[in-house]
């Protein structure tokens, strides 16, 4: 089976760095998934990681496992409840990902994103459950 492309919100990345028993960690270490983040994500992940005192070597190691896409402003703002999250939607669109995975479902207009861009917005565990249905 070809790896499935997913775009990851930064909360998923940070979660995987903070817990090795959570769904985000399982997702990040699943080799059947092509994981994408953007240049903006990298910046914010580094800021948040520093504030949460996460070892920077750990972040660098993780980021190397991910595909990083460069996105530019302006971003789609009509698909989010909070415009500060708009770069995440742009990342998913740019990478042509079928899934956008986040712990912040409320901040994304999932129906509109699905209708306009054919991207499904899920939590990591929901996506992992979906993968099991394909086995």
């Amino acid at each position: 089976m070809r790896p499935i492309g997913v775009f990851l919100d930064s909360d998923v990345i940070i979660s995987s760095l903070l817990s090795s028993t959570g769904a985000a960690y399982l997702l990040i270490h699943d080799k059947k998934i092509d994981k994408y983040i953007s240049n903006f994500s990298v910046q914010e992940i580094k800021i948040v990681a520093k504030r949460l005192k996460i070892n920077s070597a750990k972040i660098e190691k993780l980021v190397k496992k991910l595909n990083i896409v460069t996105i530019k402003k302006p971003f789609q703002k009509n698909c989010v409840a909070d415009s500060n999250n708009s770069h995440i939607v742009n990342g998913a669109i740019t990478t042509k990902s079928k899934f956008l995975l986040t712990y912040n479902l409320k901040h994304f207009k999932s129906e509109k994103i699905k209708r306009d861009w054919n991207v499904l917005v899920y939590r990591p565990a929901q996506f992992l459950q979906y993968l099991r249905s394909l086995d």
Partner: protein, 84 residues
Amino acid sequence: MLQAQVYTPDQVAQILQLNKNTVYELIKRGEIIAKKIGKVFRVPAISLSFTTTGLDNDLYVAERQDLKLQPMIKKELSRARKAL
């Protein structure tokens, strides 16, 4: 008195809307975790967590782990996004 937290294969078949033989097959293949007591099977409620949470139990537990962290992550991520 202890509340029943196990089901018979018949009850599982009803809950999952499956044929009883399919339930036995799923137990045999390990897709439904059950315990054989004497000659009968009993299925713990935890094996059917999918019916209430939409997730297999291991994924449900893993998600709960991450959800505990989200208020702290959300706060810091929101600060970082405003600054960028």
